[in-house]
Symmetry: D2
């Protein structure tokens, strides 16, 4: 079974494509259409790709056929010369104004979560990061609150009006996470968990795809391709450090990947300095470096009392340190010609659209 991808002519209506899809069906091709970054994308699965390709190539309704034999066609510049813009509530990735995401590693208890949300919002963060499902190296370590954390997360989201990004570990949790997270994160360890990618792609939420710790840029973009091919339209990439021989930092932040991704792909890319550094005192330098390298945003771990955190305390900034860093990043963004996204309005978060 082969897949072909083709873009319809600008302004083409679905009715215009009816004749074509009928002809494709006659060749055994099953065609579906969707909107893809402002264009109409035709996805055709078939067993006779040569015949289907010829039919597509002959059609006046089709302006471009993507080559699925080259790596990650939908994630590539071939699919969109213009930078994609991904909106999550008021936050906008890829539009030229970097987004500041901050929050605790995990939702340990409602008070800490609320305290952190209030502080990072006051400091200028426009999104909140919180995990309720945590991948931990040891099965005996704190694994996050799990479903017990849903109400706390919903409450803080409603009270502070910050869109929330939270990690999905298992398809089993697709019934709850899209209902409480404005953006769903796929973590580094799951970057090549292809069944998870295929399912989350249909969850109807913007997605944050972290780079696997040994993933090449090409493999990372191929993981994004899984998301795009399975129906996701809003994907943001996140560089969070790769595994190398160096151990003074937890991972080696690969900032060269930022301009490389920008060149190869239209997708926004943000930087996670916290997991790369593994130590709070290194986070400010790497945050500034990430912004200067061209990142469309930063995602930073913050905790009111890092030494009390149940996970990742050593790499979490405390509240004053985050506020100071946010001030510094604002100055830096302006100097770079890419001022940070404006702070969120004090209004509550919009209702999440329920996902079937």
């Amino acid at each position: 079974m082969a897949t072909l991808l083709a873009f319809a002519a600008d302004g083409a209506r679905l009715s215009d494509l009816r004749g074509l899809t009928d002809r494709l069906a006659a060749l055994g091709g099953h065609a579906s259409t969707r909107s893809f970054h402002g264009r109409v994308l035709l996805v055709v699965t078939c067993t006779e790709p040569a015949l289907v390709h010829a039919e597509l190539a002959a059609s006046a309704q089709i302006t471009q056929i993507l080559d699925t034999a080259v790596p990650h066609p939908l994630a590539s510049r071939a699919a969109s010369a213009r930078d994609s813009v991904v909106r999550v509530g008021d936050a906008e990735f890829g539009g030229g104004r970097p987004v500041l995401i901050a929050g605790p590693c995990s939702a340990e208890n409602p008070e800490v979560l609320a305290e952190t949300a209030a502080a990072v919002k006051a400091a200028g963060a426009t999104m909140l990061r919180v995990g309720i499902f945590k991948p931990r190296t040891s099965p005996y370590a704190f694994q996050g609150l799990g479903r017990a954390g849903v109400s706390a997360l919903s409450a803080v989201r409603a009270e502070y009006g910050l869109p929330v990004v939270s990690e999905l570990l298992s398809v089993r949790d697709l019934d709850v996470l899209p209902g409480i997270a404005d953006m769903i994160q796929i973590g580094a360890r799951n970057m090549q968990n292809y069944p998870l990618l295929a399912e989350v792609a249909r969850a109807g939420r913007p997605l944050l795809l972290k780079r696997g710790l040994a993933a090449t840029v090409s493999e990372w973009l191929n993981a994004a391709e899984y998301l795009l091919a399975h129906g996701a339209s809003d994907v943001v990439l996140c560089e969070r450090g790769i595994r190398t021989f160096e151990r003074t930092t937890r991972f080696t932040l690969d900032l060269g990947a930022v301009p490389v991704v920008k060149e190869l792909s239209h997708l926004p890319v943000i930087v996670d300095p916290s997991h790369a550094a593994g130590a709070a005192r290194l986070v400010p330098s790497l945050s500034a470096a990430g912004l200067a390298a061209g990142a469309d945003g930063l995602i930073i771990e913050v905790h009111p009392r890092p030494h009390e955190a149940l996970s990742d305390g050593e790499q979490s900034l405390d509240l004053p340190a985050f506020a100071a860093l946010a001030d510094r990043l604002r100055v830096l963004g302006t100097a770079l010609g890419r001022p940070l996204a404006p702070a969120a309005e004090p209004d509550p978060a919009p209702e999440l659209i329920s996902v079937g």
Copy 2:
């Protein structure tokens, strides 16, 4: 919520432990018991670990409390000084006679599968490897037959009587895979897919855990710990090459990990030279090296016509090459004092016990 692990005295019966588990319950501890490598293991989850620890330490029924703050206690030599032996049909991993597993990357069609099974069995392989779910870097590449491959796999298993190892990619497939695979493989990309590890651990099948391509030995043993902690009793590790800067081979086979794992853990460890090499012509050297390094088995990709394979053809041995290699490995195993496991009997495979 903390977890404590303790071994009961040899010969202890569950009834002997009743008083202890009652006392633990009074402290809020939930205790369950299971057999673990010939001993009775008590697993206690609780919110007051200090009190529970004191109660366990005071009990005459308990001979050893494992420290869950150190990495991978159940996988470690602390839990078993003796090498574990894992049986899969007639194959036996860790008992001193290395097991030869061979087969195609994926079950492309019944004829190829049968042809390969017959040939590798004739050459002396004692287990068959076949994938029906394939993790592929591109969403447009052949992803395996999926559920359509179940009957072909069952048929070849029944006809040739070789136990089968096959990869599980998603918890969604736990309804079918344990019914057709004698051993379930967790692939390198899913080594840190913790929800998958937790669920497959309860599937009642021996498990083959491949090392993640950027996993340290410690992280690999921690992944095994997830399996053991969630109820698996039969786990075999598989070194398949790590990602390094070198690209003349697809991955760098880390044979130092074999004696290191033997030292740190009681679990058997086998070697996959095919994925490490990425080129069939390098497989014989790496197979011999893996055996000489002390591996408890080898898992080798074989295809009757590698250039026609839908995946991994370039690293598959053809049938005569595999037969020649098997002959060479038999001589080598004998010289090493670890003769290969005897070839499988011509009888059909035993019935798989149905897994709820």
Copy 3:
């Protein structure tokens, strides 16, 4: 033979130490003194380190004994809590104003060299980088002009008044390089060429020590320790990318190493984005990132016509690209509170002090 390092009390004169060195001599210790970052450092080689240590510890003239069993004591913060400042002509590394070094990979011909020097000076570079000895992977590739390049280098240095940094490959060239280079570079491939480090340490020039492509931060600081232990007083470190599995960039620039080095060491550290990127179009992003990460300078490859360069053309900026980048870095440095070092005066370079 052991080595002990000790600092004399502030204000101690050599005559004050006479009695101590006599007593050390009586114990078989050979002591020499030198100035080290504003303090008097006593270096004692001996065969009875315990006795010598006791003598030093008992002396009122000695305020600190460094432990040579811990890694890189002279390079560490233990030897100097204050940041070291290294002066090369008007350029000053570590004083809070980052230095911009630019120039061609190699001195191919006098005209190109002069054209580049004029342009980078006009754009605001305060030092010129030029190689006459080039380490090349192939013995058949252009190896630099060698000694034939001495006069061209001297001429351009005199004409444009920019201090020059140039790489030393062999102790055989210590007769000429210190006479034409204001700063001597030890390249990544020679970072652990210890005899070269020991000899160049006595050349009387400030040194630029590039990080080896597989060197840990600790090994890099140990290489600096060789320089400091053998008499060098002015050492600047240079992060230029490490070797990892990622190949979309030539190396992976490890910007986490910048704050790590600042924490562990008093030595200035600069960043080479050109060799890390391996592609000119990525150099601006990595330059900005390096500056934002806290680097004390940048060293950038520039060539008037990169496609004509005999080496490293693909990673060299052309003259307008460099001028645009320099402008951007000036704005960025100011926003970071670390304005770039002022452009060099139009005066000719000072006479190089002849090195015995």
Copy 4:
């Protein structure tokens, strides 16, 4: 200045080439001839490579022109389809019988050296490894005896009749090392010390070139190419582990490189399990694996009392462990169809030919 390499027809005498070299000289080409693996190699340096190439191509005396634009032509199979055999005393690398080299990390004192030499010879080693110049990460660590070790090394070499391999760190030591070492080792840290390679290539001794710890196979063969291009005729490669993220072993032994090198190059390749392992208890497994992978020899660190060794004690086998390993390797080599080289005769070592 370009270099061209060409092979003369079999049986060509130098007088036959006179006319050709005259014509090349008329084109500005400087030609020299040497014997290279049984053929006459013409090396032509010139400024007009196209003209010289045409002249060579037109000559009936020339049967093959090597392309110096492809990597490492002289090290490649293009230069010799047959495996090269390198003889060092009675030891013969590449002739199908693996060579066992053993000895202490460094010549600490004459007694230990003699004790080790006697034991490894008795156990079947056919060459002795000893360092007098040691590259150490810290400048304060024991750096080897240096020139003070020359007489001890000469004495043990004469007494036990084992050819000696010893490491060269600096061109400054080319006056003494070729006089006491039958084979000169270039260590991993100096693999890309090109001036050292160029000079040692003319020392008239067989060379052992260790792989750099971050060197690709291609870079390693290019380093060998420096040796071959500068006049060395006898080069043996040594895989000793590469730097990766894994730290349970000191380095990651890349045994895939053994068959890869055999495929790409005619040069013999041996394996150093000691430096890769970094721990004596892992050395036997990695030695066996190296032999099974196809290595032409092994180089193993041995010390009578490893805990007393001044360097590398933790990875040195003691004498009984080495004897046991040698026995095991002999059985293994025979099973592999490559029996170990026969033990050295009790005769004293042959006189070393003095090298100008």
